[in-house]
Subunit: 395 residues, 2 copies
């Protein structure tokens, strides 16, 4: 199935389950652990491909549901696929549309056949079966294709989670049987909510099918940060060690460093990009809301330890001014800064694993984030995972 | 008055009044004829300083009225001046606030003392006298300061234009007597509407005061494109040949090449940046509205002759998709393209003057722009010069 796709582990941390790996795709390699910026509609909001390259990202995420509606996968296919369409020569992972089962709950009906969506754009009907999702992702030509899954919110009745596990396995099998493009890898997704037994069952069923990689889905969907971590802690070690593990849609900086320690390799979250547009900036010690009046004449950079192009050139006062004035440059500079913070964090995490001192790195970072707990909580509004992984919304 | 400011003419075209010059400022040189992108609120919308540098711009425009209201000139001064505040190391010209006499006509009262504005942001009062305008521009630390002028719309009764000429001279004298910062140059502004006699009178009065450069104000304020050109044609030759001539707020590509032929050296207009945000792109042969459905699957670049970073990497289909999806990257890429077109046009104009074949260049360009007339007309909505030079508005 995988063609040019492969995954190798370069080193393993002695004090944790963290691993330093490398994914090879038809569009270059990805050093793992890695963070994938979210490019919902064929663009990571406000960033050019050059921006993302110079920040050091090797893979971005595209949204199957959103791209199928607009501009339509046929347009993307005719223009040479998503890489060429968006001018991005490195790797792309596309989600399957399964997450919209949750994020667009009011606009869909779900059966064993698939999900029927009423377009959030024009009300037209889109039927997302496993076969259709694979077909769209084949047209998009992403390097990593995700199987269609059924992703319930938390809390959900046990019966609903049971149904989702059964249906996710059914759809994984049908996704597995569909025809993909040359070189496209396919990842399976594990569900099971917060029920250890169902998680275990889902892992067994999905891994039995044999995928190029495995994703932990159904986390950061409304539950507490502690519960998310428990679910990952019990799921990750059960996944095949020789395949990449992708933790879907969970991603405060504190989450990332902890989940790397549990053996996760790939991450995505809209937090750095969406927060940037809302004026919330990540720093090496926590968060900073650039709109606050105390920064009106503050000549310092956002983060004195940061080497990003924004911190090298602009003051907090200027960034506050751009935000308050509603300038589009505000969104661009804030996004550049936040994505640099994420890229830099992952670079440091990889170096710590290589040096065999990841456990130290984790405790050093956790100590810095004094407001870590609050941070983890504010990352999860009532609509849960809608905030992460479901596509990066306008502003 | 000028300190480090100087202007030299490098060559003169034999077949027109076009001149190839060089302005020296404390923040570098400006090869003229030159176009100045409009950076209303301390940013050319969507562009970083690096973007503007790599497009080749050597000077940008800042708006005194807008910056005085937000973030306030005292904040800018404390942060080291406008250059440092916005991270732009090259030259800056600031307008005087005089244009808001016209663009914010509903919010101001005007007497010989100055203009009283009711802030468009919070309703507070701002009194813009010549002395106050000079003080603000001194705090901003721009390289070229503009005298305060009284700029009436066209058509206006002859008595109103007469009053504006008288008041502009009065204010020019008071602007001239105010204290500026070290190295700041001061330009006077000529008014006179569409009345040849009053234009002549204004030129005499303003030039008699002695400025580092001269601007032609009061054009593109509601009159036809033909009338604007007539006014420039009769005003420009009367200005001192050894000082730079700045044509304020007039700037379709066709305008620029024609006005260079009349001996103008500096230009500004919001057209390339504002049009970009509205999806109108300039090309070597005219204009293109990227939102049109015919581009939905068009793999070609916006302009096959264009060497800008957008045309090198992205298709019309992708740019249309970004526009239709309301992506902020749309505004950024469109602005990059349009500003590149303007920078490139001025580079070619300068080369044509150096080669002594500007008249040929002018007729070659005019022939390309088959839709030139329509273009000139659509550039001037009913609210006239509000569209140009009055500050680049949101979206």
């Amino acid at each position: 199935m995988s063609g040019a796709f492969s995954f190798g582990i370069l080193s393993v941390d002695p004090g944790s389950a963290a691993r330093r790996g490398r994914i090879t795709t038809p569009h270059g390699t990805i050093e793992t652990p890695a963070f994938m910026p979210v490019g919902t509609a064929g663009t990571v909001k406000g960033m050019t491909p050059e921006d993302l390259e110079s920040l050091g990202f090797e893979i971005v995420l595209g949204n199957t549901y959103h791209l199928a509606l607009r501009p339509g996968e046929e347009v993307v296919r005719r223009l040479g696929g998503l890489h060429r369409f968006m001018g991005w020569e490195r790797a792309i992972l596309t989600d399957s549309g399964g997450f919209q089962v949750l994020s667009l709950a009011d606009l869909r009906t779900i059966t064993d056949e698939g999900v029927g969506f009423r377009s959030h754009l024009d009300g037209s009907l889109l039927s997302m079966t496993p076969e259709r999702s694979m077909q769209i992702q084949a047209s998009l030509g992403s390097d990593i294709v995700m199987a269609l899954d059924d992703c319930p919110a938390l809390p959900s009745p046990r019966l609903r989670i049971l149904e989702a596990v059964r249906r996710t396995s059914l759809w994984a099998r049908r996704s597995r049987e569909a025809l993909l493009g040359p070189g496209q890898a396919l990842f399976g997704i594990v569900q099971g909510g917060d029920d250890p037994g169902l998680r275990e069952q889902s892992v067994e069923e999905i891994t039995a099918l044999g995928f190029d990689g495995y994703a932990i889905g159904g986390v950061s969907v409304g539950e507490s940060a502690d519960l998310s971590r428990e679910v990952v802690a019990l799921t990750a070690p059960r996944l095949p060690p020789d395949r990449p593990r992708y933790l879907m849609g969970m991603g405060t900086p504190a989450d990332l460093v902890e989940m790397v320690a549990l053996g996760c390799d790939l991450f995505d979250c809209v937090l750095p990009t969406r927060n940037a547009r809302n004026g919330t900036l990540f720093t090496s010690t926590g968060r900073l809301s650039i709109k606050r009046s105390e920064f009106a004449a503050d000549p310092r950079p956002v983060d004195g330890e940061c080497s990003c192009p924004v911190c090298r050139r602009f003051s907090r006062a200027y960034l506050r001014h751009l935000y308050v004035a509603g300038e589009i440059l505000s969104m661009r500079l804030n996004t550049l800064h936040n994505l640099h913070q994420y890229a830099d964090l992952m670079r440091r995490a990889r170096a710590a694993i290589e040096a065999g001192r990841y456990a130290e790195f984790l405790s050093e970072r956790s100590a810095r984030w004094t407001d870590r707990r609050r941070e983890a909580e504010t990352a999860r509004p009532a609509d849960g995972r809608q905030d992460c992984g479901g596509g990066d919304r306008m502003i």
